[in-house]
């Protein structure tokens, strides 16, 4: 399963990478912000995008909107990995078309399983 992970936190990128690799069955590429993720997603055509919300420059919500407006990326599901507990914001993410939300902090041993379920689950 090909995943693009977008987060401006270098350490979290490392952790997600190690968590998914140790789970097995994932291929991962990372971006540090929404703008560079757009090009990567369009070119690499992953099975899903996992993204932080709170990022300087183009944030997760803007990235989601951009991906959806481009026919080449519109069908690729996006899952947010976020520390946001604000109910309204979370509802907004789903209403905008996010496939799901995984909370930060997350259990790295279960991240792969959780992600695979979300990607293959609801369509």
């Amino acid at each position: 399963m090909k995943i693009v992970y977008v987060d401006d936190d270098e350490d979290l990128r490392d952790i997600v990478e190690l968590a998914l690799l140790s789970h097995g069955g994932f291929e991962l590429q990372c971006s540090t912000d929404g703008a560079s993720a757009l090009a990567l997603v369009e070119q690499w055509q992953p099975d899903a995008v996992l993204s932080d919300v709170h990022m300087a420059g183009m944030d997760g919500m803007a990235l989601l909107a951009e991906l959806q407006s481009n026919p080449a990326t519109a069908r690729i599901p996006l899952i947010f990995l976020t520390a946001t507990t604000d109910r309204q914001k979370r509802a907004g993410m789903l209403a905008l078309g996010a496939r799901g939300i995984i909370d930060k902090p997350f259990d790295p041993r279960r991240l792969g399983e959780h992600l695979a379920e979300m990607v293959s689950g609801a369509s």
Binding site: E10, D11, L18, A19, T32, A83, T84, D86, K104
Partner: protein
Amino acid sequence: MQNDQLSGLLCIQQSVLASSGVLQQTYDIIVENHAVMPQATGAAIELIEGNMLRYAAVRDSRPEVKSMQLPLVGSLSGRAILTGATLICNDSETDDRVDLEACRRVGLRSMIVTPIPYRGANIGVLKFYSSEPGVFGDFDELVTQLLVGIIAAGLSQISETEALAMKGKLLEAVQLKQEFVSMVSHELKSPIAALLGALPLAEDALASGETATGQRLLAIAMRNAERMKRLVDDLMDVHAIDEGHLSLDLKNVELSEIVSTVLADLEPTARSKQLRFAVTQPQEPIRLNTDPNRLSQAIVNIVANAIRFSPIGGIISINMELSANQAVIRIDDQGPGIPEEFRDKLFTRFSRVAGDHAPGTPQGTGLGLFISQNILHELSGGIQLDSQYKSGARFIIRLPTEQHQAGRGSERGG
């Protein structure tokens, strides 16, 4: 004449209603209306300021009248304020309640003064005067009281506006506090997520003999525990700043020594990006009477930012000089500079520009510049961004030198 006066009164009422509600406009409308008191050669609104009465509005072409001040005690206006009654003086030459000298100076023979009530006290008077004796009567007393009613209404409207503004400010403060708490929790969650992510993976890696991966993950955990510590330290400082008791321990120190220590501390981080510090300083040492730890903290934040935003292999210039009794420290980097739209927010809490999460450098807490600015302010100095500088970001710190500070201290004492 009475009909004309009532017309004038109506005209004033309409003008005040149509005005924007600014009190000064109301004052001006009243004193400028001639019809309401046609026999008067001038009109004024005098308000208490300390133990004097100052003209808030006046209709009189003579400059000496416009700038006039009256004593509260010994003038008819003062007496009206103290007694709360409308007072008429028919001839200033024979009336011992008036300030005769002041009346002669402006050629005033008769007047009518009515106190302006506000919240149970009188805050000033409305005064009409004439160069002729005996021109004001009972009907004029009624007119002035009606006019004062218009002013009082304006005043109570202002206090309502003030109350609304106060409420708005309070709501804003509560909202800021809530935003702050939400931002702090968010900022803490990132290192916590890294810790809780890295530690179980480190455990697994070490258990399966992948020592290198385990160590890499432990380093991540360590880095993020430190990041949490930095954030908590910064939050304590922000709290101290908010409470107004940032502790200072003043000592006589040499600026270049402080800068050297700061740069030595940051050297490993700078080296990881192959950055070089270029330091210039005058031959004569710059001595300051300051808190060396707080000043170091303020400078560390600026240099750490410079490191964070510098391109690999860049130069960070630190220039110290004496200028007009001030120690000036200029810190330049070769990074992208501060985007114009961000400059207003630069010194506010949790303000961040894109690219703050540069690899290899410790992450900022978003509080650094806010803290630095407040520390420097406490140290009687300041910091600013040089917006003219185009080759990166340039921050300029200014601090009073030892001599300058000593001078100010004795001024304060005397």
